[in-house]
Symmetry: C2
Subunit: 620 residues, 2 copies
């Protein structure tokens, strides 16, 4: 491990559970410190001194006590009471052994509007704090009554001129209002007492609701956090990088998992900072080697689903070309598309189920990819190797899918397979893997976007929302350079209940072809289980697009689907769901189309639902 | 059944599932017609003619085909293509046997800005429709590019002057922008082609997202739908009242249930209209008789939880005063608080579990309450009666709780109980039931608000959101006149997953006292299982409020909680969770406080979580 230039902290409000759950998670993920969110302490049976002892045991410093609300007041009697409240909290801080309290700008009707009076009241409180060796970090809430910009908070701190009073900068409060962090340069470094970090998606909504429900960890949203932090550091800030994220999903998700995700967001952020300032001597993790394409997609099967999948691959024009030296794994090939059927993977699925077990990605440097993954807190998987078997480095993605970093060559993973004697012929015109579609666990969608970004160096694309038959579904692609690697991640917008199917959407492998109509004809001739698409769909397509008559006829004949983006068309078909959890798509991209069949997905989902209801065996 | 002056319709987009699921649900709930949402048809294997036949079989008319988007265009070639697309949809409508299509204002970059050109293009399309006996209902989307108010849509329709062109009014699009329905009076009735109804909560967010995710059925939100519809009717509209609700929860909820909820919303709305216009001769359902208080709360118990609950009731100062004549039901009394322990209720809960099975509410007219419930589509429950037993009318609330309409008197329900010979003494100062708190199934929260409003005549209060230890929780009260009946309904903001407890919050019965400190002292002396509240809580309370020293001491000693609203304090305590699902609160309201301990709830939840982890037996 390289030296770490930053202390990494996390506010307890980021994590679900009781205070005990939160501390255990933050410590296990390797955080150096925490912000104590007051309601977590108030609900805890630990006294402040007991909490301090517990943190010391876990190697966690307490970097901030927060929040103290509505300090200033136009009513002198109320201000006196607020000061008394502050003194009580200073007692708590003394017992906790922390020296900084966050005071946020007032939202109360009696908030002070007069800059001089505000500065005077802040100075009074800071003097009380200073007498006890404590200090106040003053933060502008984006929805503060009179102080809602960092500039206004700095004006108050500057006017107060108190050594125990400084600023707390929060990336959400600044960036949600379009604030410019370049201005931080005007603030002396010793006045930057604390830094809270949160990312967020761009949403057009009330900033308070946006802040309370939709914050994300750095690298998961749309804010330029690297620039923000670079400006704070350039101004001379030397305190911790501390995360403060309010998010509906994380509030109810396993805190151990959230804490690792949070840690990865800081690792990603620190790398972005180091790359931005190569002169600053910041340590860099191993870079993510380029991922240049697909080696294989591996499906977990059993004695029931294996023969089903093998039969379908055969009908899709694949050839069973290899057999693993030591495991019950078949290699099927067509063009550059390679599919492994692995009957040795233990997955928590039922009998007869097939699922995507692993992605094999071509890496320019497989050990480098693994080192990168380890540096980014990804769980590196142990591999049992036979003597003649190639080294395979793998990590687990948030949904449990294994990601292998491989090289397809004489020394690479194909050496693990003994030839069956059959060689891949022209098949049905499938040339390779276009992309793989993975349904994410409800709690893991944002985590997965950051995982593929930080660990693999892929680019998360925009999140799209679909009105699917059994509820809204969110989906986004993550893509590599030149789109040599594409994945889609999807999740139901609400965790599914009793009415909607428990697994809203199966996973899929999208295969590429240069001539979908010809491929479809070949698949039908070979008896591939193509999904029937309603005639209404083609009628609607005809009404909306000026498609050539022969293409439209083929769409009707073979149950193809078609959508367009600004560059061209996306022509595709789907098979039935196989082994209850997985299907194949075959895709032809026209004119550089960069889509994923997203607008067609509800039609495909309804068709799958009908087929699965019609085929009782397919329900497992 | 009284005559129904309105046709009741529902857009298929309101309901989850495939088109087949939606039709079945709409028909079963008693709707007269549907709006066919085009994507539902496109994804369906039924041809338009087959759908028409299916609807005819189910007794459903097809009242509208929708939506047709982006008709007008500044590009003549594109407008020509749009007309061709419209002709294709006219073919579909002819096969469906429906005569009205919804054309919504364009959101496209090429939308027409010139009022005369827009009118000309609408007239051209309407002429084509008119030639085929069809008509176009033009609707202003609140986020339309140039036409975003109903006034602008009416201006276009008026200028066009085409008999086959009229308005579609949508309550969401008008009311979300603060539009005034009084202006409808200027529109001739025959130009009002269609009316779409949706309610919504007041949210400060982008109107498109508000519309797509948060619409509600009438009576569930903040819009004044009765006034809106009254204005539409006063202008001469004679078509159906048709619901169009886009809502994330309903999109994934059981459509059979949603359809009943939707029907109830129209029944509620029609009653509000009839009450508004007593001169119009609209039929009125039986009025909801006044609910004047609590008769009893009934807990379902078994051989394990029954004795536990009985012991706790004893320690709370209750006396076992009666035994049911024919069933294993005990009556416990203290003051006007009556609790039944019923060991004969079959509920889908585990062994040793106790839960709220029924609410007994004092009705001024129990049979009238039951008639009202039946008229509002509430499931009236069958009762098996012994010979000497009082008639009890009951309905099932959305969470399965039985609601009994009763009278506590010599002829009422107490006659079903034989005296045990023990009479209730002074007890611990508990005077009655303050309220009952019911955790709602995730999909039933908005449905429940409307149920208590429409069926029982209670008033739903504001929804509050709590940052609870395992995720956000929403809660609202529903209250009767003079607060003689109060309930709280709560639900997790996201359906709980594997990390957070499956049942986020137990149910509770809040008992009233006039002297909580004295009651707490008595309960402790009697060994009641009072929930310990952390000392940090009292420290925080002391910092925030100027409480008398003796009260603060009592709060610390007995683990009381205290919060304030503008009127006064809410002083309360909780017991441990009993039988895995239920606990008691004891509450003293000061100075007319109208709260429910909501801000204290996270502290109480964390304390309950700790106790349940510490008491293995309590986990069942």
């Amino acid at each position: 491990m390289s030296a770490e230039p930053f202390r990494r902290s996390v506010a307890t409000v980021c994590l679900s559970g009781t205070l005990e759950d939160k501390l255990a998670a933050a410590s296990a993920a390797g955080f150096h410190g925490i912000e104590v969110f007051e309601p977590d302490l108030v609900a805890s049976p630990w006294s402040p001194a007991e909490l301090a002892a517990r943190c010391a045991d876990l190697g966690l410093s307490i970097d901030l006590y927060q929040p103290f609300r509505d300090l200033d007041s136009t009513d002198p009697a109320r201000f006196a009471r607020n000061l008394r409240r502050a003194e009580a909290k200073f007692d708590v801080m003394a017992a906790l052994g922390t020296d900084t309290v966050l005071v946020c700008s007032s939202v109360a009707p009696d908030a002070v509007d007069d800059p001089d009076l505000l500065a005077e009241q802040l100075a009074t409180a800071a003097a009380r704090a200073g007498e006890r060796g404590l200090r106040i970090a003053y933060e502008a809430l984006a929805w503060g009554r009179h102080v809602s910009t960092w500039e206004a908070s700095w004006d108050a701190v500057r006017r107060a001129g108190s050594p125990a009073l400084g600023l707390c900068l929060d990336s959400f409060h600044v960036l949600s209002r379009g604030g410019d962090p370049a201005g931080f340069a005007a603030v002396p470094g010793e006045k930057l007492f604390f830094l809270q970090l949160a990312d967020a998606p761009r949403l057009e909504m009330d900033v308070l609701q946006w802040s309370r429900h939709h914050r994300l960890f750095p690298g998961q949203g749309a804010f330029d956090l690297p620039r923000f932090v670079a400006c704070v550091l350039a101004a001379g800030y030397t305190g911790p990088l501390s995360l403060e994220v309010f998010n509906d999903v994380y509030r109810q998700a396993d805190p151990a998992r959230t804490a690792v995700d949070a840690m990865r967001s800081l690792q990603w952020l620190e790398e972005a900072l180091a790359l931005r300032r190569p002169d600053a001597g910041l340590p860099l993790p191993p870079a993510a080697p380029a991922l240049t394409g697909w080696s294989f997609t591996e499906l977990a099967v059993d004695g029931v689903s294996g023969p089903v999948l093998g039969g379908v691959l055969d009908a899709l024009g694949f050839t069973h070309t290899g057999q693993h030296r030591s495991k019950p794994v078949q290699l099927w090939e067509q063009g550059r598309a390679r599919v492994l059927l692995n009957a040795s993977v233990v997955r928590p699925t039922g009998p007869g189920v097939a699922s995507v077990a692993a992605l094999g990605l071509e890496s320019s440097d497989p050990p480098g990819s693994a080192a990168r993954a380890e540096a980014m807190s990804a769980p590196v998987l142990p591999r049992t190797r036979g003597t003649a078997e190639a080294e395979l480095s793998a990590v687990a993605a948030p949904d449990g899918t294994q990601v292998f970093f491989t090289r397809t060559g004489p020394d690479g993973w194909p050496a693990d397979f003994l030839p069956t004697g059959r060689t891949a012929g022209p098949g049905a015109g499938i040339t390779g893997i276009d992309h793989v579609g993975l349904t994410q666990p409800f709690d893991a969608f944002d985590e997965a976007g950051l995982f593929y970004r930080a660990v693999l160096g892929l680019d998360p694309q925009e999140v799209t929302e679909l009105a699917a038959p059994f509820g809204l579904v969110r989906t986004r692609a993550v893509t590599g350079p030149d789109r040599a690697v594409r994945l889609t991640l999807s999740v139901s917008a609400l965790r599914r209940g009793g009415w909607a199917p428990g697994v809203p959407e199966p996973q899929y492998v999208a295969l590429a072809t240069d001539h979908l109509v010809a491929t479809a004809r070949a698949l039908r001739a070979a008896g591939a289980p193509l999904l029937p698409i309603p005639a209404n769909y083609a009628d609607d397509l005809e009404a909306r697009h000026d498609l050539p008559a022969d293409l439209l006829a083929a769409i009707r004949e073979h149950g193809l689907m078609y959508e367009e983006d600004a560059r061209g068309g996306y022509l595709h078909l789907a098979t039935d769901v196989l082994g209850d959890r997985v299907f194949f798509e075959v895709v032809q991209r026209l004119g550089g189309n960069d889509g994923y069949g997203t607008t067609d997905a509800p039609v495909r989902m309804a068709a799958h639902r009908r087929r699965r209801q019609a085929l009782p065996a397919a329900e497992g």
